[in-house]
Subunit: 182 residues, 2 copies
């Protein structure tokens, strides 16, 4: 069973958080949300979430993939956490996939892992994604780093993670129940 670690912080984009957690769990992944700021977490448009664990209690090395949701405020909080940035680097050093959506790729950049990587992000923050080779794609995959653009690409992002780790047949098991645009 694939174990995914999803850091959540005050200001996280609630649609991205919910879609990542829900779609990956539909694929039978073990998904643990970890609160980097005090609980409950107030998301970007005021929805309040309770994470599964506090970030400080999580043993990140136990996980197979790190998935970072967006939201401007949440991303700022994650970038300020030395522990989160260390964890991004540790996943990368271990050759594990690292994923981020919306403003989330800025966290990967702050950790120093995006140099020369083809990466996408929320169009409104693309000018800040200076370290990467920025591409305007809905989902970009390069060297085990998966990035995406925003709330409306979150379904495609989550399904791309499932395809990347488990293969396309795993996507076929999940996608029909989502009723995505054809």
């Amino acid at each position: 069973m694939t174990k995914a670690l999803v850091p959540l912080a005050e200001g996280v984009e609630e649609m991205e958080a919910a879609i990542i957690v829900d779609v990956l769990r539909r694929a039978k992944w073990e998904v643990i949300t970890a609160a980097v700021t005090p609980q409950p977490i107030t998301a970007s448009r005021g929805l309040r979430l309770l994470a599964d664990a506090d970030w400080a209690t999580v043993h990140a090395a136990d996980f197979d993939i790190l998935v970072i949701p967006g939201g401007g405020g949440g991303t700022q909080q994650l970038m300020r956490s030395a522990s989160v940035l260390d964890t991004v680097r540790a996943f990368r050093r271990a050759g594990k996939p690292v994923a981020a959506i919306c403003a989330g790729p800025l966290v990967l950049q702050a950790a120093g892992i995006l140099k020369g990587i083809r990466a996408t992000c929320f169009p409104g923050v693309a000018a800040d994604l200076t370290a990467a080779h920025h591409v305007s794609e809905r989902v970009a995959i390069d060297q085990n780093i998966i990035t995406s653009q925003g709330p409306g690409t979150a379904f495609e992002f989550a399904l791309a993670l499932i395809a990347h780790v488990d293969g396309p047949q795993a996507v076929e098991a999940v996608a029909p129940g989502l009723i995505l645009p054809s």
Copy 2:
């Protein structure tokens, strides 16, 4: 400012709940989530949510529109609440829009307001939507009753509510930031 009431119950589909709340708030609507079951609410894939209020404390007549998210378990809980069914009927009698997505239209049916109405729902529960004139559309609008199919139609559903109440120019203000499929 349009005031939307969103009942939440154990088993609610978290993607639908988050998308409804977030997109409507982006349109400057006042959105109040109200917990019909004890808080925190554990959604269908385990994400835990805190509602803005408990259902019993909410004065439903103050709201302009009722929006019911799906999730099989959440829908069952809402159908068991006489107060929720009474509220559905009260909105309808007052000529206010009533909306539901996924399994949520079954709540409208249980309240008795779907007779002869063109309505859609999650394909997996369509056989149970016997009172309505069921249509396999992503969003259906008939006589101020707006219905939709599931998580992947939730963005279109929320934007349809905004268009229905505020007009298409209000959608133009919100849609670009969502990065929806073209």
